[in-house]
Amino acid sequence: MSEQTAELTVGGDAAQPLGVYSRPKGGGGWRDWITTVDHKKIGILYGGAALLFFFVGGFEALLIRLQLATPNGTVVGADLYNQIYTMHGVTMVFLVIMPMAAAFANYLLPLQIGARDVAFPRLNALSFWVFLAGGLFLNCAWLFGDAPDGGWFAYSPNTGVSFSPGHGMDFYAIGLQIAGIGSLISAMNLIVTVLNMRAPGMTLFKMPVFSWMILVVQFLLLFAVPVITVALFLLLFDRNFGSNFFNPEMGGDPLLWQHLFWIFGHPEVYILILPSFGIVSEVIPTFARKPIFGYEFMVFSGIAIGFMGWGVWAHHMFVSGIGPISVGAFTLSTMFIAVPTGVKILNWLATMWGGKIRLNAAMLFATGVVSMFTIGGLSGVTHSLSPADTQQTDTYYIVAHFHYVIFGGALLGFFAGFYFWWPKVFGHKLGETLGKWNFWTMIVGFNVTFGPMHILGLNGMSRRIDTYSPGFGFELWNMVATIGVFIIALGVLFFVLNVILSARRARGLPPEPPDPWDARSLEWFTPNPTPVHNFDEDIEVSSLDEFWHRKWTTDENGKVVRKATAAEVCQAGDAENVHLPSPSYWPIVMSAGMPLIGFGLMYNLWLCVPGAALVLMAIYAWVFEPPDDPDGPFGHGHDDHDDHGDAEAGDESASDEGAPQEEAASVE
């Protein structure tokens, strides 16, 4: 074929249109981004969206702390306060931590297992756009003046129409439902990716700990998302169609909501934290210059956390009257789950022990995770004891606990990841000086904010109250916490400044040479930033930390000596004629239909019709889309795709949740 000599032009020239179903040609700029199916771009999109929502959620946090800074605060009213803290929680959990984890997972998982993309690139794009649609839909509630106000766990009957008559909780139920679809698709996709797309020789137990933790998280999502799906449907039906699941007046059972929510909600907690554990498990060995201590233990403790996470949910319900046997059983299981978590902490410490530690910003953040998560984990163990929990529940002690694990654990871990992988993604490092300022302000601000909340909680300050009277001894520590949150804000400002200044500094300079950190895993085989086709050729993996072992060896005295420089080991990233999956319009089109259906359910059922039509049309367009770039160089054009039947492969799953399998990329 004449095309054989043609070269792949990324975002190439204008194409001959093949009809309505021809695939987009990119064309550069924003079109590339909205039609992309490249896991790296999707990862960046996830990260950008998560950061955006992080600023929104952070702003809400500032308002909360301003309101509570002094007794009888009047910054916002009680009603608005309810909406703000609810949206703060929902935003941070579902629209910041989860997508930020998805950002790291999308970008790094295929690279770490030596793949050229995920198993289903178009589904991957769909997950992102569906998540974004859900997040924007949820935040639309502000524009309609009616944000959710029932707390992030939305206990019924507070969320029923009688106590929450506005549309706020509908936004919650539908928005999370949409975002949940995105998470589920992403989970299925990444599981198949890990199982089927690993590089030659990369057995499961040669995968980096980060990839393992992401895999465990995808399993948790796979099985937990359907549970919240059920709960949210029931809530939606209760509110909109008059069903009686959670309505006590009609004999409904508010505890059913609590069970369903927390059956999802506790695995969700591990969904939030395990990606960060994975990041830390990559950062610490690199900067301690030692292999991770007890790799198998790290992996198995992650799996154990994943399993045991399913058997502890009712510890969120100790005071809801579930009876002494349930309370006893869940107390025990909750105490046990501290064991695998402790194993991880000890292994990180053992990895650092005796290592040649480079204390740069990434490593500082990683040590921040280890120390702050330990505090949060220990306060967590105190709630596992149901008698103590009876005192602590619904107080600021709980607020302190979960911020220590989610902020101190998950979020700081992401910052470690930013500093570590920034050169991989953007081709330049973030500045170290501002990075250290970023770390120290955040860690100090964090402890000043959430440390005092332990005291406030034990002194009896309830969570979710919009204000308090003077004279209970709450004044001092509330003021301290409010000061703390502004120190955190300063830290975030340093980060933003660092991003901007580093980008400006790097402008015009050649990208960071390969392997800036003397790292260990497969993603560093590629130059910085990662070329669009990832690897020039498949990497034959023979050991954990394959990249490290190609650079270093031990001499006869057992001393570690270099056998190759990074430049010798790394790929040049200049492969040509790499067959990449073509972009597609349909993921974003399909996701655009979902919020329309949501608005229809709330305001006018007729609005569901165009929404559903959009989704249906996109599904069929998706299925019958030519399997690949018709003008691409490799003869996968219109003429022979019929013979392969690619257009039909997966017809069924596309009509449901799946999609045609995109061909795995191949190299000439």
């Binding site: 198949v192 089927n196 057995t203 359907p226 169609f241 069903s243 039947g645 799946g658």
Partner: protein, 199 residues
């Protein structure tokens, strides 16, 4: 051609991505239906002043429609088997039969729902009624989606693109279809046949 798409798969299971995706999805669906069934079981006693499940279920009727759905699993697997032999004609016949049996089941469900409505069991009558309609409704939606997939397969077939080489497509639709059948096997026993509370 030093390496090709398949080299990428060397580290993997060697299984088809599509089929694996469907099985992963079905694993997830277990939790969805489990939640709906639990919501029903918790509420089956809570019928208030409305009809009780034991009074209203029409076991002989539901038995017939359950049998219809069960047999649609047979026709589904026969259609796959025909396509795997390259027998396009029988493949189409059995796909049509499966879709019709599915539609018959849905028709039965519509009839059952309207009968219940006439007997005073509306969606909002009681927690029991809400849970019952939600559970069986979700199952009905799944069957309907299955019918849509079968029809898409048939369209494909008449366009001449559903052939022996891509019988896996039929197999994957079949997996979904059998799963929905299996869920009904569970629902039929636990919700209908296990004696329900009466007023």
């Amino acid at each position: 051609m030093s390496s090709d798409a398949h080299a990428v798969h060397d580290g993997g299971t060697g299984l088809s991505n599509n089929k694996l995706l469907m099985w992963v999805f079905l694993g997830s669906e277990c939790l969805l239906f489990g939640g709906l069934i639990s919501a029903y079981l918790i509420n089956r006693n809570r019928f208030g002043d409305g009809p009780a499940p034991g009074d209203i279920f029409d076991i002989p009727f539901t038995s017939v429609s359950s049998f219809v759905l069960l047999m649609s699993s047979l026709t589904m697997v026969l259609s796959l088997s025909a396509l795997q032999r390259g027998d396009i004609r029988n493949n189409r016949i059995w796909l049509w039969t499966t879709a019709l049996l599915g539609a018959l089941f849905i028709g039965g469900q519509v009839y059952e729902f309207t009968t219940f409505l006439r007997e005073g069991l509306g969606y909002t009558t009681s927690p029991f009624s809400s849970a019952f309609f939600t559970l069986t409704g979700f199952h009905g939606v799944h069957v309907s989606l299955g019918i849509v997939m079968l029809m898409s397969l048939l369209i494909s077939s008449y366009r001449g693109t559903l052939r022996k080489e891509n019988s896996e497509t039929v197999e994957i639709v079949g997996l979904y279809w059998h799963f929905v059948d299996v869920v009904w096997i569970f629902i039929f026993t636990v919700i209908y046949l296990v004696p329900s509370p009466t007023t």
